[in-house]
């Protein structure tokens, strides 16, 4: 399939790459894992949306559905040592980087067993053990963090690579240009992965973005690529190459991934005709769905049967449902936790800030 959808942009160098359409990962296990990971993300989001609709979810949350091939294609090219930074639309990255349903749903529901003990919620979900440095509620807010993680790798002589996920809208934050400059100067092992889903909240990004995104990265001497973000193998093939190169000091890189979000900006954004048409949504869902298309390809290649696909979907959906049921019954953190974890090494922040309790190193 469309590994050739990845192309390097910029000046005369632009053109199709990897035109031989050879599969990115050479073995079936990898395909299966990628497929399952995408299905997991979709199943997670379906449940999360359901929780919102049934008024069981505290606050709002941003669905990743439609963009699965981006998170999975990239994260499958990473190890647990490699880091990512995520966004407000971060469930997909979190699942793709290896997180478990239970702890994720617990976090979304503010329960103690959540990844962040319920203190972070959907917009700050982090999974340190798998190298996910956390979602971020400030658009572009993690660009510094990701670039700093890459600096840290370099300073420590570690070979981990950091992927910084952000949306097309986030390219309007000045921070990005500041850190790209430093990443380029110091050849940091960071990959800026821009998930271009066409929208910045309720506005088409092309109405509020001038020029070209790849050119913006290239202006700093950063190699830029553009790839079809609905084709998991294309994404993965590109990611593997770039991660490998970044690991060997050839970074940083920029990748623009064309994709689409199926839901509104957040779960509450239901009536959205005023900014995008139902036809447009249908077009993407029906013709470019990353899961359906990859499933079809797996079938065509004889790797999975139609029944297998259904079975995988059912199995994962059941898992998600079970995790939701578990999370709904899990306990909230105790009241006494409210001023814990403000400072590392300090049990309770309130007496500490008044000088009545000493903390580590203080």
């Amino acid at each position: 399939m469309a590994a050739q959808a990845a192309k390097k942009t910029g000046g005369s160098r632009s053109g199709k790459e990897g035109g031989a359409a050879k599969a990115a990962k050479a073995n079936t296990e990898d395909y299966l894992r990628m497929y399952r990971q995408m299905v997991k993300i979709r199943a997670f989001e379906d449940q999360a949306n359901q929780l919102y609709l049934s008024a069981k979810m505290p606050g709002l949350t941003h669905m990743y559905s439609g963009q699965e091939a981006v998170a999975v294609g990239i994260c499958e090219a990473l190890t647990d040592e490699d880091r990512i930074t995520s966004t407000h639309r971060g469930h997909g990255h979190c699942v793709a980087k290896g997180a478990e349903f239970r702890q994720m749903f617990c976090e979304l529901l503010g329960r103690e067993e959540g990844y962040c003990r319920g203190k972070g919620g959907s917009m700050h979900i982090a999974d340190q053990a798998h190298g996910n440095l956390g979602a971020n509620a400030i658009v572009g807010g993690s660009m510094g963090i990701a670039t700093g993680a890459a600096l840290s790798a370099k300073l420590q002589g570690s070979d981990f690579v950091t992927v910084c996920f952000f949306g097309d809208g986030a390219t309007a934050q000045g921070l990005w240009y500041e850190v790209m400059n430093m990443a380029a100067l110091w050849k940091l092992p960071v990959i800026y992965a821009c998930e271009n889903n066409g929208y910045s909240e309720y506005t088409r990004t092309d109405e509020i973005a001038a020029g070209s995104l790849t050119a913006r990265a290239e202006a700093f001497g950063i190699e830029a690529h553009r790839v079809d973000g609905q084709e998991v193998l294309a994404v993965n093939e590109l990611a593997q190459r770039l991660v490998e190169r970044a690991r060997h000091g050839e970074g940083p890189f920029f990748v623009e991934l064309d994709t689409y979000r199926y839901h509104g900006h957040h779960v509450g954004d239901i009536n959205r005709d005023y900014y995008r048409s139902k036809d447009e949504e249908a077009e993407w869902k029906e013709r470019r769905d990353p899961i359906v298309n990859f499933g079809k390809w797996l079938e065509a290649e004889g790797i999975l049967s139609a029944d297998d696909l259904v079975a995988i979907g059912d199995e994962i959906r059941a898992e998600a449902e079970a995790a939701v049921a578990y999370a709904l019954n899990a306990s909230y953190p105790e009241a006494g936790e409210v001023d814990m974890h403000v400072f590392a090494g300090v049990d309770h922040a309130l007496p500490y800030i008044d000088g009545y309790a000493k903390g580590a190193g203080a």
């Binding site: 505290p58 319920g118 203190k119 972070g120 909230y332 309130l350």
Partner: protein, 332 residues
């Protein structure tokens, strides 16, 4: 004629009226036009005033706040929409180094008639980066005026005053209150800055509360009155300027005070107001001035925790009871 309208509608009306009155007024911010902001506060304005005066921006807070400063210095009067008060951190340089100081640094020759409207308030389950109440930061910076409407009535009157002011004004609306209705006159009115509102008169204790906390204080006062405690409730309406006289006057009468504000307590707004009271009503105080602010922790997501972090009517009433009964209070 007075009708009940929401705080959201009140802000919308204030801006629409001022845009009709003065063609140099314009709106700028993220998703302010068709979307009318995520809170729908500005809905419809683009239809009346067009996309030239209701300008959707990229997600570039420092950029568009900086541009508002420059626009204000050269003949127009921008109203900037900052979607969440938490994003203030991003625009502090433009607001505090550029806007706030222009008039002074130029010896009075340049001025920056702009309004930055943003919001505050927790308990929307929006976690640490979308729930802060950061008005203390800007109140500290000379050259900025800071308004804190506590109802639809204040929201309209203060907004109109802000738009006509020749200085940078920051207005904090309470996100939780956008749908709350209050009586608002149909006739035009303005609320002057620096004029506190005594919502309720009382003899035993003064509750000074800002923005979101005014209703909390009012509820506490209601509960206290049932117990025979008469609480005076004062809404300063603006932090800069601050109507010290009205507050001090009240405390000299009641001899007790509690200051309630939704910003973090430590190094925040309550310290300033409480220390003004403690200084200026010193010889009249029967009890130490009490302070209630948001708990000094990042706002937690979990509902089980978040609700513990903001002052409630119960907490205010409890503190008031202790004060009125004179329970010894200064044990460390």
């Amino acid at each position: 004629m007075t009708r009940e309208i929401t705080l959201s509608k009140a802000v919308n009306e204030a801006i629409a009226e001022e845009m009709r009155r003065d063609p140099s007024v314009f709106l700028i911010g993220e998703d302010v036009a068709e979307a009318g902001t995520p809170f729908k506060v500005l809905s419809g304005l683009v239809d009346e005033f067009g996309p030239e005066r209701v300008i959707d921006t990229p997600i570039s807070e420092p950029g568009f706040v900086g541009m508002a400063v420059g626009a204000a210095m050269t003949g127009t009067r921008p109203i900037v929409d900052l979607m969440f008060g938490d994003f203030l951190y991003l625009v502090m340089d433009q607001l505090c180094n550029q806007a706030a100081k222009q008039h002074y640094m130029s010896g009075g020759k340049l001025s920056v008639p702009m309004v930055l409207r943003t919001n505050l308030g927790a308990t929307r389950r929006s976690a640490a980066q979308h729930s802060q109440s950061l008005h203390a930061l800007v109140a500290h910076i000379p050259g900025l005026k800071v308004a804190m409407p506590s109802s639809a009535y204040e929201a309209k009157g203060l907004m109109k005053t802000a738009i006509r002011d020749d200085n940078p004004v920051v207005i904090f609306e309470d996100k939780l209150m956008y749908q709350d209705k209050a009586p608002v006159p149909e006739e035009e009115y303005l609320i002057p800055f620096g004029a506190a509102n005594v919502l309720r008169e009382g003899r035993d204790i003064t509750l000074v509360a800002t923005s979101s906390m005014v209703q909390v204080a009012a509820k506490a006062a209601e509960a206290l009155s049932a117990e025979g405690i008469s609480a005076e409730v004062i809404d300063p309406r603006t932090l800069v300027p601050f109507d010290e006289a009205t507050v001090v006057e009240s405390v000299r009468k009641t001899s007790r005070a509690i200051v309630i504000d939704e910003g973090h307590r430590n190094f925040g707004v309550t310290g300033e107001i409480a220390s003004r009271i403690s200084e200026k009503a010193f010889y009249h105080l029967d009890y130490p001035v009490q302070r209630l602010g948001a708990m000094d922790v990042p706002v937690p997501f979990s509902p089980a925790l978040e609700d513990l972090t903001v002052p409630t009517p119960e907490a205010v009433a409890k503190a008031a009871r202790r004060a009125v009964r004179g329970e010894v209070a200064d044990a460390a």
